[in-house]
Amino acid sequence: MTALPGTRRLLATWATLMALTLLSMVSARLDQNSWQALPLWSAGLVVAATGYKVQRLLMVYLNLRVATPAWRGAFVGLVVLTLALIAGGYLAARLS
């Protein structure tokens, strides 16, 4: 049987994920009436929060922390690459 994260860690992770989602929503300034492009720091915060959320989901919800460092690195690397694509596309559009 695989060592599971335990209820306390699951609840702490869930609280973190919820808080980061709310932080992303606030930093993205959801007021539709004053719609404008995000400042770069705000967009950076959204991307960083997203990356951390995915990392926690992989390590705790999916319990990847029990796998070898190579697998952990592979999945985290893929997430970083995906976020780089998202952030790069966003930046290229913003700065063009």
Binding site: M25, Y61, L62, G89, A92
Partner: protein, 194 residues
Amino acid sequence: MTTPYASLRRVPNPGWGPLSTLPGNPLMWVLILSEMLVFSAFFALYAAERVTATALFDVSQRQLDPLMGGLNTLVLLTSGLCVALAVEAVNHAQIRRARQWLGASMALGVLFGVIKGVEYAGKFAAGITPETNAFFGFYYGLTAFHFAHVLFGLALLALVSWRTSTENVETAAAFWHMVDLIWILLYPLLYLLR
């Protein structure tokens, strides 16, 4: 000195070669990896299109309601917690408790679908379809593809609620978390980064 038997006991899936150290069903990890690659390819396409039609994407993105997307993120994250708690329960031989968590997770999955349905209905009522422009092609394409995964995940969760075993619940849970993971990436891409 570690005996071969002891070293075999340390890995979750002995006999699966490089996949043996992954928790749960190794084939589910192959699926998770391939799904992440597929969605990443779509994200790259979206990014490339956005660079060539920035103004169109900005105007179109304004039509989306980030609060609805955020609400759906919170719903899916909570559903993921319920599935993880179901895995904990089934590992402690608490089958009834595991089924209750699976039921809660499915209810939240259905709520996700209802919110998404309300969002789609609003868009269609406003005359916004996948053919409206490139942005909405991506919006509908990506969210509908993801939603198809939600429906399949719900079917899997229902199946393992009926055939409840540790392996079955872990396998369905891994798929459900993958659905969650993809949405976490989709949400900022479509709704927040403007």
